[in-house]
Symmetry: D2
Subunit: 444 residues, 4 copies
């Protein structure tokens, strides 16, 4: 009965034996927050019907370990040394996370030594000669007011063994890795190497991906800020589209394999007529292709706004290059579509005008919105609780609005993508008015 | 086994018999969204342990009916007439909700007649001589870009029978009430009168309260925008506090019985030192009172920021007046504290300076943030699905990130308040650094 | 003595004979604004020394006619018909100008017929079959809250005679042309054709150029909003630059021949290290070239921010194409520099990272800032005063903070460029810390 | 002939003898900015007619000394010590000014010692035991991103002799005073005491008043940011006014004796119907009183927006108290009007609703807008040039868009007020549609 949930079991370095310095409560009614028992779990699926089905069939419903402060912790705070590293592309909220990690560690757990490794994994190998920053409450107190990462970041892996050597050199007990898919693969390997060496080092990941595409994590930090910024670019495209006869405004947004930013920004702006995401294939030409529908829109309404996620239509712009993180370099579908739409309308002698906007880094370097700030703080606080309790090889996440622990291994098995059968995507379709499918050999 | 969940059963006007015009799917794998079966339910509690306990004891876990488009609907869209009314104080997102109701009704259900009643319940009695607006897609297409309500609002009840007469005069089939606690009591009474008369009129509430204090609704629309705006006022108070020797910046925020805005804004801003909410009593004087701790903070750090929810400390400022909605008029704790803090520091001859900010309506009349816009649209779309399906006496809500149907009766039994034993409040305490309790006869 | 100022004399259609309906005053002390006498003039040069020199030499100092309401006007408001056209690229504030023209004409001069021609000069030839909009106070009351132009715009000339025919068809008395350099050449030609035909049609230009490059106009509307928006893009570039080891953030901004946007945005942001404008040549390679100084900056400070105006360095990216307005199409210096900087640092084996941002239309489609809104209103109001007074072939402008009348002919003789010997440019240089000259054969 | 301009002659400590370290040019054409000769002056009045009249009558037109870098300076930069103090209420841009002072002094003049006195004049007397901050480029590099003053401020005078003693103790050569009317009176007294003692200390004022009410200064820094922020409060009032039947939205803005903020914010927002400023008296009751016109507006349009400057209608709310700066404490016209408007409409049985917004400190603690940032930098740079050149007892100002030197004595003789016979006020009247006069015994 237990083995269904085995995939979500989180590793621990050992039995926690130190009392938590948080001085929380173990009972209700005393107006004081309680410790979270280690066996508290949050169900994956909230459908009453499916839960009952599972149980009738003798299964325990799948669930995640609940995050939160533990009564007993694994590390002696007075001797604990911590490292923080930020990897991959920037994303709103990194500094909020760093700040909250440092505040929670130093104010509440009384940890005295916190290193900030510089420029991602690069700063975790001796050869790079990058000195870590020593972080404390004063140094980080205002950093949440700025975008970016005060530690800097970089793409690409470093030698796993050297990084573990480095952690040993600095006598690190807990490593917090703030990073995305590529980073987390490295985090998993670091964890494995640490376990192989039998070291008492906890490795906690805080998932960072502006694309919101990590499995079993309802929402990544910075995502809301990012799509909210994107709405501004769409507004500009809408103004431009309406500013000319048969004007088309097109915006390229982030989204390598998942269209969350494009879909959310389109839904929030209400001005988008075509939202193109990687999860939903489409044809350009033909009677049910994009261009035909675009032309019809222009004829009827005089203007149109298109949002395209960067990962869309790679068959038209394929490259074989890879970036330093090992991701395939995407071809630029934005400029391709801009030019090809021009070509199409010239070929049919229709006087359309296209204006193309690529807001690029403007979106990811924004200051976090207040709700995202709160979320960043909470993720970081729960990451600290997990690390101090001796958890390892895990991510802090959120599921059904509860903070959870998710084994990294499971989380990186595949990317989260937008379900095009969901009501959310239906909402987008309803909002844009675009055809449900724009493929010539599919039912419209 | 079923009777545990009886409180959350939603009334229906009858058996839906018309096919939905939405043309959705009933199966997975066809790249098309599915109708939501009427027996889909979302569990209230996501704790694996508690769910298993319930079931072991022979109970069905409590759950809400899941919202969403139904395959069969109750009203014939071609003949359906709809009314929309907005009541009570303004709140970010009302226009987003109105817009999405109209868009969903007219574009997707092909409803032809949508009335917008003017100025709340006042516009639903013949005597007020207020003509309803006829709403259509063109009229509402840009209204989400503005704060407020294009329909206008008012406080206070009107005669229930006259309002139902009015609905009959206009041959209304579905009434959407956008309003808060007071409004929803009226909505419930309208529903009861309709059921008493045996009329085929569905009444759907869309909960609107900037205080986020409606039971069984995870988050009300506009709330995120409101507390995000409040962060700006706190920023100003922080600047003022630091601008003078021993400067105190104090901000009064909304929150009659619930401190959600104050707590979220304080947590997001990271600059607050004392967050005072109605859920958490405190003393002003004495060795563990606010003034003592405030003075200590000033001595140590030179400045302090206080956020106070309007419903706090009513014992000091009690009035017996009531507003038109029947709410007790709150005494003004903000100006009381401003003056009393001055008095206190003069009495102890300490040169503190206090600057007081009451952002009042600035917060509630803001344009919605993008994520709130999306939420408003989704609430409205699900309200339309519910109304067309013949549900009545219910609210659309959200729970565990799923849209739900909640009987109004249950939702208004009591206000939702912030649990001061929650991790969320712990986070606020940790962020402000204020004592867990500021009462002289309680354990600090 | 008079002939020195002949270049700035404004043409008039005839002697104004109708009393102004504005009911203003002709004397001080009655708490009522005064009419502006037609011989009020504003000196070009405010240097006491130079004014005295001129006068000593028997010259009248150069001056502009002062704008403002005249006591007598040329057109009978009750019969006057007005046309408005917006041409060329979008710019913040166009809708503010349209709104203020309509408000001033209809509320204060009681003009009853105001046409808005669609999509620039295209909407002023019968062949385009574009019907003009009839504009009134209700229709324009909220348009200033949106970017863009409600009339739409287009580039490129139309046949002058046909446009004048069209004005005759619609019995237009005053034509307001909102447009930039190219447009104003057309405006001048329309004026000439009207004068040739002896028609009583006044032509008033309102200079629109986001580049702020019109001679004898201190500041064009929308310019402040535009460079303020650009500051956001620079902020993003700065975040990106600091986010990586040896990070370079580069932003391309508008500015075909004049670097005003780049220079103002750089000065306002304080984060720019190299500001490249068309007025100031520079070398890329060599001991005093950009790349050398960029490398030095990276070595010393670890990151760098570059702002480049689009008109810079055209020798590297020359094209021979022209756009519809007849402007030479600029080669894309932004992507050229991005790629060439990469190439350079690879060639010298230095691990720099460049992130490139092209905010493009985001900047020009923004809602106007409050001070720009005021300026737009004032320009429009003065344009109406001038048109009603029968002035023609002129622009409304501002000089020494006074609104003025400037003959179009003079204004378009050459572009206004930033004086690199000015204190303003010195301020930019001081703020960026860049070398005064980056040319190998010039004194650094 | 010269004596007409004597009022604007600026005092100097002596003949400058050190070469400026700025390495600027003395001739045109070398692509390098020039030093400003000490006899460059900017005419006060730009009217050609009035200039010619003056000269014909044998007078030299009034003029200000032009600011800018001088070829010879009075202080030896290597030995020069500088103090900076900020006094009075906060205002947007103070940190921008401090930053630019420090940058200009340390980077360009190579001054090594810059003290920031804490909390206004309070920090310039030994008795307060406040240690000055030592300022350098690193410390100030990011301060412009925050509102307020990093030095803190205070109201009220200190003993002049003790302050001069303090300057002597710290061997200060140049004191920069950032402050308003009250402060500048102190600045003048400090200057007089210094001259009396024959000390080589230059005193340079940088006028700071959010009310923009300093004579001979076209615009004070922060003013544009302040009224732009105020537009947001007006927007909220407009939303509230339209949100209820016969809704009135009222906003109180700063403006003790001058209505610049109210008038500019009203003009920029376009949503104001009544703008009440201290310069323009009005009656409340009677056939031409505010209440009558307000009621007419409500009857015709259903809502109204009022902006009231704090200094308005003091006869209704008179107090005799004074604040620490010696300003008469204003009675609160905002809450008076709110209550009295309620009373009036109840007395005439008209169902109006009033919502009152007092944004107070929110407006003055805002981060500066980009154009204001630039202005702050330029003011500070010119202040440094003036101080290094040995000028004293003067303000840096701007006139006809040129930076100028203005003797403090002249500038504080009277407040600058808005001329209600100006075209600017006419624009406001036209925009609001309010009567030109609302007084019963005056011509409407």
């Amino acid at each position: 009965m237990v083995n269904d949930s085995k995939h979500f079991l989180v590793k621990e370095l050992g039995t926690p034996s130190f009392p938590s310095p948080l001085n929380l409560s173990k009972r209700d009614g005393d107006q004081l927050a309680n410790y979270v028992p280690n066996d508290e779990r949050v169900v994956l699926n909230t459908s009453l019907k499916e839960i009952c089905n599972e149980i009738e069939q003798g299964h325990v419903p799948l669930s995640f370990e609940r995050a939160g402060p533990r009564e007993k912790i694994f590390f002696d705070p007075s001797k604990c040394k911590v490292g923080i590293v930020t990897c991959g592309g920037l994303c709103p909220g990194i500094n909020d996370v760093i700040r909250a990690l440092v505040m929670q560690l130093s104010w509440w757990y009384r940890v005295k030594t916190i290193y900030g490794f510089r420029f991602g994994y690069l700063g975790m190998v001796k050869e790079s000669k990058l000195q870590p920053l020593l972080l404390d409450a004063d140094l980080v107190s205002d950093i949440h007011e700025k975008g970016g990462s005060i530690l800097g970041s970089s793409r690409g892996p470093q030698d796993i063994e050297r990084m573990v050597d480095y952690l040993m050199d600095y006598k690190i007990n807990i490593l917090f890795c703030i990073g995305g898919d590529g980073t987390l693969r490295g985090t998993q390997e670091i964890t494995d190497e640490i376990l192989k060496r039998g070291l008492p080092i906890s490795v906690i990941g805080i998932p960072k991906t502006i694309d919101n595409d990590i499995q079993y994590i309802e929402k990544t930090f910075g995502f809301e800020t990012a799509f909210s910024e994107a709405v501004e670019a769409i507004r500009a495209a809408h103004v431009e589209a309406k500013g000319g006869q048969y004007g088309i405004g097109m915006v390229k947004l982030m989204g390598r394999q998942s269209g969350y930013i494009a879909a959310n920004a389109a839904l929030a702006s209400q001005d988008v007529n075509f939202c193109l995401i990687p999860e939903c294939s489409f044809d350009l030409e033909g009677p049910n292709g994009l261009y035909h529908h675009l032309r019809t829109r222009l004829e009827n309404r005089g203007h149109a706004v298109i949002v395209v996620a960067e990962g869309v239509g790679q068959k038209y712009v394929q490259t074989n290059a890879k970036d330093a993180s090992g991701n395939t370099k995407l071809g630029d579908i934005g400029t391709f579509l801009r030019d090809d739409i021009k070509r199409y309308f010239q070929s049919v002698d229709f006087p359309a005008n296209i204006r193309y906007i690529d807001p690029s880094y403007i979106i990811r370097s924004a200051k976090t919105l207040p709700s995202d700030s709160i979320y960043c703080s909470q993720l970081a606080q729960n990451a600290v609780h997990a690390g101090m309790a001796g958890k390892t090889g895990m991510l802090v996440g959120i599921w059904n609005n509860q903070f959870t622990h998710v084994p990294i291994k499971i989380a990186i098995e595949q990317r989260k993508v937008l379900d095009i059968e969901s009501e959310f995507w239906l909402n987008v379709i309803e909002s844009t008015g675009q055809p449900r499918m724009m493929q010539n050999n599919s039912p419209a």
